[in-house]
């Protein structure tokens, strides 16, 4: 036991830092190479204010990291700040009074004016008070195409979803997997939601996910989407991979022609030294006219703390994360888009610039994370992955089940 006490004492000694700096532990799930580099930008900016960022990285997103964060907060030993996705994941923690409101910082820093799109700040607002800082935007609505795969099949690279579907048989003939799709259910649902927004339009998307209108979900407009999803599942047949990046890799190596995945897929193309436009093509909004993107992404929440020094440091951190310089530095490394419109991103690559242009045009819409509960999302995930893997389920059947889920959604 003596040894243990000695070890504990030693570690406490090593962990000690400069006396006047306030340590603030920040938990998050940004752990891959690019993500770590991005976090470093936050930490650098925060440390420059004389405080100290204590990193609490825990990989695995929602299902791994969330019980840990919730335990820490409810166990009475909260961290200084924690990541959640935009949307409703932290709603109950706010309701339970465990999170502090940031109204003063928000007012002093004019968040209402600088945060773009405005819906992001709305997502952080609960009963008129602001509880989180949105830090980035990840958009789902992309179709990534392999130029080499289309060249091999002697086809021009398609410009939209319909052209791509029409190319399906020719691609198969050339021995190319038309659509790469990982088996995990969130990827299937992502593709399906992309089809709703790109082919069905903004109004249909909002009727379904915002108004939870079961009639519309069972109606003819959605029937078209299910037809398109039927095409997609045929094109995805034979895509025997699990992870999204394995699917992206099929596109990079021209084994597959296309993948519909969020903007984070771009990191894989970059690491493989591929150039947008030359080696691969990116179509925002699946190449349909008047594309919209959803504003998913990450927010930082601040649990209530009893230590006034730490509470003050929380305000500093919130301020720093939204400063223009930090926003640019963080998002360029992360491969996501900044949450304020007044920053210079001339160094962004071509695909990201397309995304920024859409953002600038105001063609943004809330992501499903912000509109429906995680419970409903899980039910849709289960349905979609069944539909995409079991050809005996007809589009009609699937639509009926989908409408039932929407009817009871919250």
């Amino acid at each position: 036991m003596k040894l243990m006490t000695a070890l504990l004492a030693a570690s406490a000694f090593c962990g000690a830092t400069i006396a006047n700096a306030t340590d603030l532990e920040v938990t998050h799930w940004w752990t891959s190479g690019g993500e770590s580099a991005a976090v470093k930008e936050f930490a650098k900016a925060f440390d420059a204010t004389g405080n100290h960022w204590v990193d609490g990285a825990i990989a695995g997103s929602g299902d791994t990291a969330r019980p840990i964060m919730v335990s820490r907060i409810t166990g009475g030993d909260p961290m200084g700040a924690t990541q959640f996705n935009h949307g409703r994941q932290a709603e109950e923690l706010v309701q339970a009074g465990l999170m502090r409101n940031l109204d003063d910082v928000a007012k002093a820093e004019h968040w209402a004016d600088v945060i773009n799109p405005k819906s992001l700040l709305e997502g952080c607002t609960y009963q008129g008070h602001i509880y989180c800082v949105p830090v980035n935007i990840h958009a789902w609505q992309w179709l990534w195409l392999s130029n080499a795969a289309f060249a091999k099949a002697n086809l021009p690279v398609p410009a939209n979803w319909e052209e791509f579907v029409a190319d399906g048989p020719a691609l198969r003939k050339a021995g190319i997997q038309p659509l790469a799709l990982g088996q995990q259910s969130w990827q299937v649902t992502g593709l399906f939601n992309n089809l709703i927004l790109a082919l069905g339009g903004k109004d249909l998307y909002l009727k379904i996910f915002q108004d939870k209108d079961a009639k519309v979900a069972a109606g003819p407009d959605m029937a078209k989407i299910f037809k398109a999803a039927d095409d997609a599942r045929q094109l995805a047949q034979g895509s025997n991979v699990q992870d999204w990046n394995q699917a992206t890799n099929m596109v990079i190596t021209a084994k597959a022609a296309a993948q519909s995945m969020g903007d984070w897929a771009q990191g894989e193309f970059q690491v493989a030294k591929q150039v947008a436009g030359k080696d691969y093509t990116c179509l925002p909004g699946l190449g349909e006219p008047n594309p919209y993107i959803t504003t998913g992404g990450d927010s930082i929440y601040f649990p209530k703390l009893s230590d006034p020094a730490k509470s003050a440091a929380q305000e500093v951190l919130a301020k720093v994360m939204l400063s223009p310089a930090t926003q640019v530095a963080f998002n360029l490394k992360k491969g996501s888009m900044p949450v304020r419109g007044d920053v210079d991103l001339s160094t962004a690559n071509d695909c990201m610039k397309k995304g920024l242009a859409i953002l600038k045009a105001g063609n943004v819409i809330k992501s499903t994370d912000e509109l429906i509960s995680p419970d409903t999302t899980t039910q849709i995930n289960d349905l979609m992955s069944q539909f995409f893997n079991d050809m005996s389920i007809t589009p009609d059947d699937a639509q009926k089940k989908f409408a039932a889920i929407i009817g009871t959604a919250n």
Partner: protein, 302 residues
């Protein structure tokens, strides 16, 4: 199941080691063992060759082919360079924390469980079987279900976020299987031995330390294998019930292999997994010396 052992062979299984190395029996025996070992080692082989390849080679290549150009960079990166957030010191960061967690947790959980098993098999009291029944039932409770109740429990006794809290959690979750292990082992030890010790005037603790414990080496090895593996590889309890300055190595492992929206480096993932598995591996190899025969039998005679 006995078909794997050459039936009807007059060769004695328990005698001295046969002189002739290439008897039919030996060829069958070692042939079977090598074949089975090859099956068990195949995924390890894939992991090792993958960990020695560069990423471009992994993207293109055959998973079974040996590396064209061997690189140890993934191993170095996994151990000392992989970044998670700010900290770019790879797995090495959590190594000593893991040791600090594993050693006392293994020792205490085995101590508690062996005493439990001893009391349950040889010193039964009213209700002891009921508690044991509850423990066996506890082995089947998915532990994630108990996360929040245990948070509340530890918070109320003031141990939430401490090393001792975590040691208690490991002892609790190890208790059902380990107690079962020891109870059934002690239960199979010849009763005369216990009675003889009682006649000699030895009490509860005397019999435990002087008679039972020395005889239970093989089962202690199994208990150690179970606990070292489970606790060394534990990730969830380590992060839920402690603080970042106590996080075990598996937190880094998880951070290296389990990111969702980032580029995946399979070679580093494999190297990190193999490195993390080294400590249990060493324990398996070294503890094997304790798998000896006849402790119990010898004691009966003596």
């Amino acid at each position: 199941m006995a078909s794997a052992i050459p039936p009807g062979d007059p060769a004695v299984p328990q005698g001295p080691r046969p002189r002739r190395a290439f008897s039919a029996r030996n060829i069958t025996l070692y042939g079977a063992l090598v074949l089975i070992a090859a099956y068990y080692a195949l995924p390890l082989y894939v992991m090792i060759v993958t960990s020695l390849k560069t990423m471009p080679e992994i993207r293109l290549g055959n998973i079974f082919s040996p590396p064209v150009q061997i690189t140890f960079q993934p191993w170095i990166k996994a151990w000392a360079e992989a970044c998670t957030g700010l900290n770019c010191d790879g797995l090495s960061r959590g190594f000593w924390n893991s040791v600090r967690i594993t050693v006392p947790s293994v020792a205490i959980s085995i101590a508690i469980a062996s005493i439990n098993g001893y009391a349950l098999s040889l010193w039964r009291f009213r209700g002891s079987e009921m508690f044991f029944g509850i423990l066996v039932f506890g082995a089947f409770i998915p532990y994630q279900v108990l996360i929040y109740p245990i948070v509340i429990l530890l918070r109320d006794i003031g141990l939430y976020g401490t090393l001792w809290g975590l040691i208690i959690v490991h002892s609790i979750f190890g208790m059902p299987i380990l107690t079962l292990l020891f109870r059934n082992y002690f239960g199979s030890i010849p009763e005369e031995l216990f009675k003889a010790a009682r006649v000699d005037g030895a009490g509860f603790w005397g019999i435990f330390f002087r008679v039972m414990l020395p005889m239970s080496l093989p089962i202690v090895v199994v208990a150690m294998i179970l606990q070292v593996t489970g606790i060394w590889n534990d990730f969830l309890f380590g992060v839920i019930y402690t603080k970042p300055d106590l996080y075990p190595m598996t937190v880094q492992l998880n951070n290296i292999v389990n990111s969702v929206q980032g580029v995946k480096e399979y070679n580093v993932n494999m190297a990190a997994t193999l490195l993390t598995g080294l400590v249990p591996l060493i324990v398996y190899f070294v503890s094997g010396k304790l798998f000896v025969r006849g402790i119990a039998a010898g004691a009966v005679k003596g």
